[in-house]
Amino acid sequence: MTGGSLFLETFFNPTIIARYLPDILKGMLVTVEVAACVIVTGIALGLALAVVRSFRLRAVNFLIIVLVDVLRALPPLVIVLIVYFGLPNVGITLPSFAVLWLVLSLVLAAFAEEVFWAGIVSVRKGQWEAGRCTGMTEFQTLCWIVLPQAIRLTVPPLTNRTIAITKNTALGTVIGVPEILNQATTAQSFSGSATPLMMGALAYLVLFIPVVIVGRWIETRFAWRRG
């Protein structure tokens, strides 16, 4: 057997591909579901935290900063394991899908909060004053004047961060969420072939390359109206 055909036999075995393609496709669906849920709740929660932080209530902000820093410092896998294996000890049992969703949402929210906060802070003080001088409340000024500018500034870093955290859906495999990597490793251990892993990798590319491209498009689109 030549090197080339050995490579193809190992990573692109047609019979294995045919046998496990349905499983990998099912895994892709689960990955998309988790990722979509994480993006929506993570960014929404991050924005909400940044808005709360802008009211500058000392005690509340202290809690937000501690929460955000802890979530950003811990490896997401550690949090996934603690929540999945730890919470049942205090009587809370969550399905693995929910654990993955919850943990990744919190991690994305922590990073998103920092990005949104940086955006809010970077909007010049005069913008707040202009809004308040037309009789708008602080909250109205935040919603209609400051946030639209802040969010525009935050789109590029937020896009990158969102992609990075959504890829962490692969961590679901250690707690049995039937996403792509879980399906691929299961298939790999049943078949003894590395082909399912390669299928998994391709599945990630199929899902995330469009996301990366859309991210780049959003970045350029939001950049040119500024300045």
């Binding site: 010049r124 005069g126 913008q127 202009a130 001088c133 037309t134 009789g135 004047i145 500018q149």
Partner: protein
């Protein structure tokens, strides 16, 4: 209309306003001059509580502005403000800059807000620029949009904080012309500025401030004439050099 009594403002240990008394009558244009650091901008910013006065009182149309019971948001829309740095909303076009408060504060319908905003933009000569974003407007045009944004809310007093200081002289002219038109239309105005020609032509009273105090308050003919306080004369001759 506007009645300020014994107004004090301290920043830490520094007393920036040391008991200011100032009355502005309806339709009057009061022009405040003075060296930088004299407290004139701080005084103006106290008039709508962008800065919180430390002591004293401000009455607007008989309403105690500093009372905790006073709805400051309601009062602020009666106290229009024009800033040195324009502070237009960069994400909104000229029309959107003017309609925002009409929609969100006065709760006007979209059509009504647009009609009011177009009339306001027309008054400052920028009807054709309604669709332009601030980045597509000159400094003078931006400042006139800011004036339109303020007058659209029909304020009882307009406060100007060095409205032309960030502009080249030729661009400042269009802003001063718009301000002159407002004065002729009967707007009550308080202007902090160094545009002495404008003061001579349009001000009813000129107030000279130094070190947080009013040194002289009188008609332009007096402050720009031989009977001016020696400090005023010194300041004006310094300025013309």
């Amino acid at each position: 209309m506007l009645d300020i009594r014994a107004l004090r403002k301290t920043f830490g240990a520094v007393e920036v306003l040391k008991g200011i008394d100032l009355k502005v009558a309806r339709q009057e244009l009061v022009f405040i001059i003075g060296p930088s650091g004299s407290g004139k901008s701080t005084l103006l910013r106290c008039m709508n509580r962008l800065e919180e006065p430390s002591d004293g009182s401000i009455f607007v149309d008989g309403v105690d502005l500093l009372s905790p019971k006073t709805d400051i948001n309601l009062m602020r829309r009666k106290l229009g403000m024009v800033f040195q740095s324009f502070n237009l909303y960069p994400h909104k076009n000229a029309l959107g800059n003017v309609t925002l408060a009409l929609r969100k504060v006065l709760r006007k319908s979209a059509a009504e807000a647009e009609a009011i905003a177009m009339a306001a933009l027309d008054r400052v000569g920028l009807k054709e620029k309604a669709g332009n974003f601030p980045s597509q407007l000159s400094g003078g045009q931006q400042q006139r949009v800011a004036i339109a944004r303020a007058i659209a809310l029909e304020p009882t007093v307009l406060l100007f904080d060095e409205p032309t200081s960030a502009l080249d002289p030729e661009l400042a002219g269009s802003v001063l012309a718009a301000m002159g038109d407002l004065k002729k239309a009967g707007m009550t105005m308080v202007v902090v500025s160094h545009e002495m020609r404008f003061a001579r032509d349009f001000a009813d009273r000129v107030v000279f401030m130094e070190n947080g105090e009013v040194v002289q308050d009188g008609p332009p003919a007096v402050l720009f004439g031989p009977d001016a306080h020696p400090r005023v004369k010194a300041f004006l001759s310094e300025l013309s050099h």
